[in-house]
């Protein structure tokens, strides 16, 4: 078992790693209840108050994907701009 006998990853690595695992589990559970479970629950059940209207289950990931693309594009742009070299004059 990797956590006992072999040398371990440092604390920060483990914290970030398991944090990511926990976050994705939470996200998966919430999203699965929203998309898959809720249609089969009576519309007057209290659980519906914890979830936005169904349209948002498609809109929010779409917006998140757009923001992600924007961040990636900006990052690439900044790095490219920083690394621009002046043209050599022959």
């Amino acid at each position: 078992r990797p956590f006992i006998n072999t040398p371990q990853a440092t604390g920060a690595d483990q914290a970030v790693g398991f944090g990511l695992v926990g976050f994705s589990l939470l996200l998966f559970t919430y999203y699965t209840i929203w998309v898959i479970v809720l249609p089969f629950v009576d519309s007057d059940h209290v659980i519906h108050s914890y979830f936005l209207p169904r349209e948002y289950s498609v809109i929010l990931p779409g917006v998140a994907a757009l923001i992600l693309l924007l961040c990636v594009g900006t990052f690439i742009g900044v790095i490219t701009w920083k690394n621009r070299k002046p043209k050599k004059v022959d």
Partner: protein
């Protein structure tokens, strides 16, 4: 048939099945809950795939092991090489202060 064609065929079949249910092209009169379930499916599968990728990356970051011995040995070798090159007259760039320790690939397959 190539793998690409197989994947495209499979994806198209699934896509057509999804389209049929979502837009009710065959007038199948499915119960409303199943139609409600069907139309976010492409986005749902993408989100699930994203969660799985994130969890895999996180887990492998958490279980990736440091190798203290290999790190020390490597830094000793770097020092030795630098001194050797200095003797031969090479100017070395300043080394970064907080050098991250290398990790070794002992994660079990």
């Amino acid at each position: 048939m190539t793998k690409l064609l197989e994947w495209l065929l499979g994806a198209s079949l699934i896509g057509m099945a999804w389209g049929l249910v979502t837009f009710d092209l065959l007038d199948l009169q499915l119960p409303p809950q199943y139609r409600e379930l069907a139309w976010p499916m492409p986005v749902y599968l993408l989100v699930v795939f994203g969660c799985y990728s994130l969890a895999t990356v996180g887990y492998r970051v958490a279980t990736f092991n440091d190798c203290e011995d290999a790190a020390k040995e490597l830094q000793a070798q770097i020092k030795e090489a630098k001194e050797d090159l200095k003797k031969k007259g090479l100017k070395m760039p300043p080394s970064p202060v907080n050098r991250p320790l290398p990790v070794c690939r002992t994660r079990r397959k």
